[in-house]
């Protein structure tokens, strides 16, 4: 099959709609919301791509996926080739196809978006990656790289670490990943709920790395069990990608009441420890009728939608700016609304109110209005005098962000940090210690899966150069 439609014919095709589980059904379970495209839908969507010369979409991708090329292969119904192109550029395509904010990256730059809808690049990526997982026998065999005899230690098994490990293994280096938790995937597993990213996808992506010869050691906390200096002695290079750390506290009264969670705790209990997911789960989680989630990012959406699934009758997002200023992906906001989540906008928490016996009973808030733009380009919220009011809530979840984790850096005195405690690294991930590279949230503070993956990819290239010296 060939991909030789005229531009006019391509322009005549409407953007595909992702099939979804009905909102009333999915808001009571953890099944994946997006069901994936059918073969016909994928083919038709692939034909919408104009195969333009400018390839703006590629510039919008933090890992530089050869987007027009894989879409062309897909439009030609050559899935093995599409999968090969995708896998060559992106270590975790099935993950990216699900959690990347395409609307601000590749799809934002798609020429078709100038008049009408951009090509659904994320849906197509997911389609190809899922096909590849189901058809391992039809994939083009990767040539086994010549072993270089060099070894690399990767700290952290999240998106940055997995990406770097995959790239380095394909270059012929012997890679060992050290993971602090008891399971793989980092934030992909403990942070992102299964209704967005099923655990099976992570398991399969990790299995691909194992086939490439990557060793993964769980329960090893770098900075505690072993130090960066010890890794530097035992390995030819080190890549630090241990992720975000301590939750940022709100510093408002009542934060230590029972029923107040940091997003990481709430999500880790449910996602990693399976609390509330089955009748007799060993790790407990509180369940209340009214749950207030503070924040407007993807983590806040994950928390509020999880609370809904655990049975909350009122699951609320409390955000101090307006909906247009929310950093969350548009799709997450849409899905949350469909699932009955309430959006309480222009509202900032000032205290958590408790009962006499120490349980949360309400979130005390004040109304905000938007003033002039701040440094981030978003309009700065300002309190409205005399607008205080209480929102009844049995659980309050703080999803405003995280600070740098000090565990690794505390025992690496030569590693230069910025004033927030994040590791200082250049564009290629090189830190202040020769042979030690870093990327992902430990460098960026709180960012996205795909930016972490971009860091992993660039650092792997830099490590490869370093190892040749």
């Amino acid at each position: 099959m060939s991909n030789d439609l005229s531009p006019k014919e391509r322009m005549a095709i409407d953007r595909v709609h992702m099939p979804e589980l009905p909102a009333d059904e999915r808001s009571t379970n953890f099944e994946e919301v997006n069901l994936g495209l059918s073969a016909d839908q994928a083919l038709s969507e692939a034909q919408r791509c104009l195969q333009c010369k400018t390839r703006n979409c590629v510039a919008g991708c933090p890992v530089g996926v050869s987007i027009p090329e894989f879409i062309d292969a897909l439009a030609c119904d050559d899935l093995p080739k599409a999968a090969q192109i995708l896998r060559g550029d992106n270590a975790l395509p099935a993950v990216c196809g699900r959690v990347c904010p395409q609307e601000t990256q590749c799809e934002a730059l798609c020429v078709r978006g100038k008049k009408g809808d951009a090509v659904a690049i994320g849906y197509l990526e997911r389609y190809v990656a899922d096909w590849a997982m189901l058809h391992p026998d039809r994939l083009l065999k990767e040539a086994k790289p010549e072993p270089t005899g060099k070894s690399v230690a990767v700290v952290g098994c999240g998106p940055a670490g997995l990406t770097a490990a995959g790239e380095l293994a394909r270059m012929g280096h012997q890679v060992t990943i050290f993971e602090a938790l008891h399971d793989t995937g980092g934030v992909l597993r403990y942070g992102i709920p299964e209704f967005r990213l099923p655990k099976e996808i992570i398991d399969r992506e990790v299995a691909v790395l194992a086939e490439l010869g990557v060793t993964i050691e769980c329960n090893v906390i770098i900075g505690k069990t072993l130090t960066v200096a010890e890794l530097s002695e035992d390995y030819d290079a080190v890549f630090i990608a241990n992720g975000a750390g301590l939750p940022t506290m709100l510093n408002i009264p009542g934060e230590n009441l029972k029923g107040v969670y940091a997003a990481n705790e709430f999500l880790t209990r449910v996602n990693l420890m399976e609390a509330g997911r089955k009748e007799d789960s060993a790790t407990p989680i509180l369940q209340r009728d009214e749950v207030a989630v503070i924040g407007g990012g993807n983590t806040a959406m994950d928390c509020v939608r999880t609370a809904r699934r655990l049975g909350a009758k009122r699951a609320m997002i409390i955000y101090r700016r307006g909906e247009a200023e929310m950093p969350a992906r548009i799709e997450e906001i849409k899905h949350a609304k469909e699932e009955g989540v309430e959006f309480v906008m222009l509202t900032a928490p000032i205290a958590i109110v408790g009962t006499e016996d120490g349980w949360v009973s309400a979130l005390r808030c004040q109304k905000m209005e938007l003033g002039p733009a701040d440094d981030s380009g978003r309009r700065r919220p300002q309190p409205v005098a005399g607008s205080e009011f209480d929102i009844p809530a049995g659980i309050v979840i703080n999803a405003v962000g995280t600070n740098a984790n000090p565990l690794l850096t505390a025992t690496a005195p030569d590693l230069k940090l910025n004033k927030w405690g994040n590791v200082v690294a250049d564009e290629e991930g090189q830190t202040s210690i020769p042979g030690v590279f870093a990327g992902g949230d430990i460098v960026r503070g709180g960012a996205t899966v795909i930016l972490a993956m971009g860091d992993g990819k660039r650092a792997a290239a830099a490590i490869n150069e370093y190892l040749k010296r």
Partner: protein, 282 residues
């Protein structure tokens, strides 16, 4: 996987378990803990590292089997395996030579106290150890602690061994006697005991350190579940502690947060009990 090489019962519901964990044995310092998860689907539980043998590559855990998860952990036989043991976590105890030090332990806290007493003794401190329990059969590690201490004082609530009463009795006598008053106090045990010790030493201004054991999930600072109010600051016991200045800790807040899952745990406990009863009936 971490092999169990010994598992002995020290007192009712209290086990001393030795595990093969060479990296942790080598890295560990007094005051640190590990996160333990028995098997897939089980809870992550923080447990203090009681002792370690770097040459043998083993660590010793003292485990009080009071919840469903800890009971399962202690039922692992010698030669069996614990799936996940991660650490050492937390800050090491600040050890210096204070001179006279009182080490106070209550219940399973006595086991947590053991590595501190050992490190303090090695640093040349003159140690008076005061340990207590409900009755004689709950008093543990008396011989081991006695060997490291200049004085060992035992209290029991029913008077079945040593002084009748609480550990605070002998401690307040010590403080009142200029010839015996300690320069520093370490206290580990139930929250009310640590609070009572802090109240005794606050007025005379004796430096007092307590080791806290709040609810934890990851133990690496990620979840924030173990937060505790220390003075004007919110601290995370897993990365900032587990040891803190007793005079600054909000013990009432800590006590209250420890009850967060009482209802859920009671339900699980009952369910596990039923399961066990059914198995026994078979």
């Amino acid at each position: 996987m971490f092999e169990v090489v010994s598992n002995e019962i020290l007192a009712e519901n209290l086990h001393k378990m030795v595990l093969v964990a060479p990296r942790i044995a080598k890295a560990r310092k007094a005051g640190q803990f590990v996160m333990v998860r028995l098997a897939q689907g089980e809870e992550r539980i923080p447990l203090t590292i009681g002792d370690a043998d770097p040459a043998a590559g083993t660590i010793t855990l003292f485990i009080q089997a009071i919840g469903a998860s800890t009971r399962k952990i202690v039922s692992t036989p010698v030669g069996g395996f614990i799936r996940d043991v991660a650490g050492p976590l937390g800050k090491e105890t600040h050890i210096t030579n204070w001179g006279r030090v009182a080490c106070v332990g209550g219940g399973v806290g006595t086991a947590v106290l053991f590595p501190l007493v050992k490190a303090l003794a090695e640093a040349g401190n003159e140690i008076t150890t005061i340990i207590g329990g409900r009755s004689e059969r709950y008093v543990i590690l008396a011989d081991e602690l006695g060997a490291l201490s200049k004085n060992l004082l035992i209290t029991t609530e029913d008077g079945s061994l040593g002084y009748k009463g609480f550990v605070t009795g002998p401690l307040s006598e010590m403080i009142a006697d200029p010839a015996r008053a300690p320069q520093a106090v370490f206290a580990v045990g139930p929250v009310p005991m640590m609070k009572a010790v802090a109240n005794l030493t606050r007025e005379p201004g004796i430096e007092t350190i307590v080791s806290l054991n709040p609810i934890m999930i990851d133990g690496t600072g990620m979840c924030g579940g173990c937060r505790v109010q220390v003075g004007t600051e919110t601290k995370f016991a897993c990365v900032d502690g587990p040891e803190f200045d007793a005079h600054l800790v909000d013990f009432d807040g800590l006590s209250d947060r420890l009850t967060s899952y009482r209802k859920e745990e009671a339900a699980r406990h009952a369910a596990e009990g039923c399961k066990l009863a059914k198995e026994v009936a078979k």
